[in-house]
Symmetry: D2
């Protein structure tokens, strides 16, 4: 499993299983001098904790982060930042049944195929808890970005058929409702929808959206390491994401050029796009307008409804997944999307420093 | 521009500008022993050449590939494979006007912002010709995959409002119409739509789809290097792609779990998915069903219609982009999508060989 | 500090400071199915602990390793293996003086130049304790190699002017004397030499040697990633190493071709080198003979003798480094050399699996 | 052969075989705005051409470089720089005999073991001509470094027993004698020695040395990516190098700390090392003093003397390697050493820009 390292200069390595001793992350390449405390991280981690609302699982988790290295007298030193969340309760016995068959929509089958066996306790490495390391690292990246004037806003755009109304978009509302929707009315309807589906022993999908403002221009590398390409990888690497869009996204397939192109006009002595169909990049580099992206999350695969599957003995069976599972993934995943975006942009901003000789010469003169 | 290298084990480095001396690619990490000729590559490159139909630009390009290294007596040797397509005609004078302003929907502005200046001739590095290196390398990857039983099928799924009908899906039809659509009726209507929009000095968007069959299970690495995540990066790195989907894609946001989950049943002694909403991966690893992905391409940004933009002197101006431009990107991009998918999967298949100790021990025993 | 990740497929990320909460490592890419226990790691870590002999510092350290992830029911699962050694005692007050000046031969000055400040407690990240993560990961790599028949033997070759006698080379003796020398007589003289230099408030240098047997042929990649090149990086990345040799090493500069070339003869139906001046590689790939390499370690820079240096206020000062410091680095570094060699070779052995198409086809047929 | 890519930000990919169509390199990550012409590259390539003196092979090679991309109006654009040297003469027939057996000291055997077969013409990829790509890229890196005030001086330090005298070190002399020695007297004696050994159908080894001045402090990353570690890899990746040293090198093994440590004193308001036993780095980062390193090259393995080896049919045979071979590798390799050092340092200088938040904030303010 050589897939747990992300990034080129701001590199994160995550580790840990749902029911192992803990989960964590090491950041290698965080610049020195960033004020950083465990509270900075905890605020992010709290956004992914369950039990925050009636819509998420009542499991009691206490994900307290510890910084083990890389911070001295309140600032990052430039050395690797190791962070860990120890698992408090490891009830392996709950999962003995799961070990014997392949849950539909889960990675049980593919893990067995690839590695020959798996840590089946709570999903092991493919559990949603895997994102703890991502979020902890993303909190550091977001703080780094903030010091450069780059800010991220992430929220639930839709749940099932219920979508936010952009005309009444309310930024403050995001943290007021447990679905992280910037629209109280949509959140209420979505909430009822979730409750109804849960009663039907089913689950629902939804969409998250992230907007990044304050971006310098020219961030991202043309060709393969386009900012949008790296964002696509970052977002689709989150479990349950099946679609990714920038700007107008899939809709561009039905658009015409005269409408889809964003005109430029001078504003305050700088070229500025009049519209933002592109979602903030041109040719893979940031164009000065906000980065806008969306991720489509599938419904929670663990449902109480009966499902057909096979067991490890090669028999067709019918199962019903018990346990405390959220009927919707999106709200808790909003902060994971934000974390992955922060990691990707922080990395690109560092790499961009090496693009021009005149700026390099100036850098080393000082 | 440190973004022109793709892959981890099967690594490709592309180079070249639209109006420079040529364009090419070096593959480092292609296994030894693959039969390979220039004709193998040329067949792929021909699929991206213009002038194939009334819908694409009448520019005359003769993209003849030369293999400069890495092949000996008809087989790859394991050493880097360098391939080049020399540019035949370099009419830089055509582009002198473009140098002075920023074309809407193009990378002119962001290139200048990042690097301080740009090779403006024909779009330089951000021209569609940049994909020559991708396609040449993709042809090698596809041949490698074929020797492992993995096959790729790529085509135009929709153009503007016209979409293929899966009930009359005709594989042979793909290469019969110049739009690469597996549906003659849809192709005809789409063709008329393109002609109409061209008359209106406009352009249209569309969607490409790729299906990969014969995949071994377990390909892809969990967490960040999920097969779907790497495919997302690969596809979104293609210029003009604004959206990416696997399986049911964006639609999962409105789905419910009991439908979205793919049930397993035993078939010929192996677990097999009954449906394929997931698009061929579970937990980031191939699950034995076909890989299915889609890319949404924006309309060609170069249009004859008047557009508002700014010039390098900081003045608001109105422009009309002359020149011979396709009114639709998708058909010529179909092979680019196939190439990027082939590169991504070949790389993942190589990396997967190191996943299990028992197989490694067996490998070295032989 | 983006320099704490090593390897391409078997990738390790180390973290931790001398006086922080702990030190550790995450391995991403260890194959699944390797039996692994904390005892396997501890045996390696014990070889780098001080207090083992009169020649090493009497500091009491208890470096007990914990495996936090990646192992399930006694075997590696293929997921990242996170290992940590918590620091028991953190006496930061001991180091307050060091914070004010730059110790000769240490990284104090360069850390301040690069990062603007440093964690000065016990040398922070540039302490010898940094190697804990290397050794823990190396223990896993060594166990992986053992399952493939590859074995490592590492020892002290010389201390000051005292060198081992190869004619009386005694493998068992290595672990009998505290200097890890395979020659009891040389160890005794070297021990006396160290005692004498310590009395003079001075320190001494020495050389470590590593021999790897059971290597498959063809391991290592031609050109930049030659096995010897990657070994050179691995070894020179160990603090205090100033020279690296393979086979005849520096002496080849004075050799003649007719002697330096290793002749081949058939043996048991296979070509075999008659001599091993090359040290086990030809053209960067293993040639079937033992890998032989050496590392020259400088004397411990921390000495009680008076030295001239400058302080952070920009004044010339004279210092005497107090504290409990080994007068010789080599014996404790022997296991670090072994760890780095194991990591490098394990990585190369994994990458080599992708070199030939016929073997790949066979791999996926099974 | 996934080993032909070098570097992290300034990344070079080399390709080409001795008797293929040509050899070349692609640089991905060279900053935009560097004035660059083919002449800049040619001057470097000329230093590795044979036929420059009586001591090197009389083969006539005309290695004329072409820049195919990445340069526009005389300056690098930030896009990949592709450079090629086409082979003029491809006399494959000369090498038919070599195909049948394994030359001692060459990579014939290991290539066959790894890949199953090899391009045997002139050594294929393991020929000395492989370094063409390194040198072409190194010329670009050296020009980049020069614009930052960093200069490289590389020369032959010794040939067989004849070593330069540092007291009469003459920088201008390096390019006056065909052995690239900064000491006319040593060069004369070394020349006679080479002539004598050639008459005896033998070859000789030697040592190259490189000094880098004008280094900023703090370049290099602690732990694995130490500047010295990356230099070690760079140098040992050159064919025929068997030993690598920084500063006092192997001699530190016999040194004592009170002598080996470099004292600091204030000079012109900055701390400066009084001596330079360390060779320019402390803790893996540049310390402001010159970088000093050495490489030991083995004697040319191709000799006319009879040697024992085996053929591909598994028979013991005796061979005598005919053809025009230099009896000494070092002089032509001097520029290869310089190229690899330039590549390594350029890369490290770019990466170092991301080390400190305050400098990053300042960079993006401008």
């Amino acid at each position: 499993m050589a897939g747990s390292i992300f990034g080129k200069l701001f590199r994160v390595t995550t580790w840990g299983e749902s029911h192992g001793k803990g989960l964590g992350v090491v950041i290698d390449g965080c610049p020195a001098g960033l004020p950083l405390s465990e509270e900075d991280i905890q605020l992010y981690l709290n956004r992914r904790k369950p039990g925050q609302s009636v819509f998420s699982t009542p499991r009691k988790e206490d994900d307290a982060v510890e910084i083990l290295s890389g911070v001295f007298e309140g600032r990052t030193t430039g050395t690797p930042i190791s962070m860990v969340v120890f698992n408090k309760t490891q009830r392996s016995q709950d999962y003995s049944e799961i070990a014997s068959y392949y849950r539909p929509g889960h990675a049980d089958f593919t893990f067995d195929e690839k590695y020959g066996f798996r840590d089946y306790r709570g999903g092991g490495r493919s559990s949603g808890r895997e994102t703890i390391g991502r979020v902890a690292a993303g909190a550091v990246a977001a703080k780094l970005l903030k010091s450069l004037g780059v800010e991220l806003l992430t929220y639930t755009k839709s749940i099932g058929p219920y979508e936010i109304n952009y005309e009444t978009f309310n930024r403050e509302e995001i943290f007021r409702n447990s679905l992280y929707m910037p629209d109280a009315a949509a959140a209420e309807k979505a909430g009822e929808f979730i409750m109804q589906k849960r009663k039907e022993h089913d689950s629902v999908g939804g969409m998250a959206e992230c907007i990044v403002t304050g971006m310098p221009t020219g961030i991202g590398e043309p060709v393969f390491d386009k900012l949008n390409a790296n964002l696509a990888k970052a977002i689709v690497s989150i479990g349950a994401v099946k679609g990714f869009e920038m700007g107008d996204g899939m809709a561009v397939a039905k658009a015409i050029g005269s409408v889809n192109n964003d005109a430029f006009r001078m504003k305050d002595g700088r070229p500025e796009k009049v519209t933002n169909h592109s979602g903030g990049t041109l040719g893979g580099m940031s164009d000065g307008s906000p980065i806008i992206l969306r991720a489509a999350f599938k419904p929670t695969p663990s449902i109480l409804s009966e499902q057909q599957t096979v067991n490890k003995s090669g028999e067709d069976i019918t199962v019903s997944i018990k346990g405390r599972h959220d009927p919707i993934i999106v709200p808790r995943a909003v902060v994971v999307v934000e974390a992955m975006v922060a990691l990707t942009i922080a990395d690109a901003i560092l790499e961009n420093m090496t693009a021009r000789l005149d700026k390099i010469v100036e850098f080393y003169k000082n």
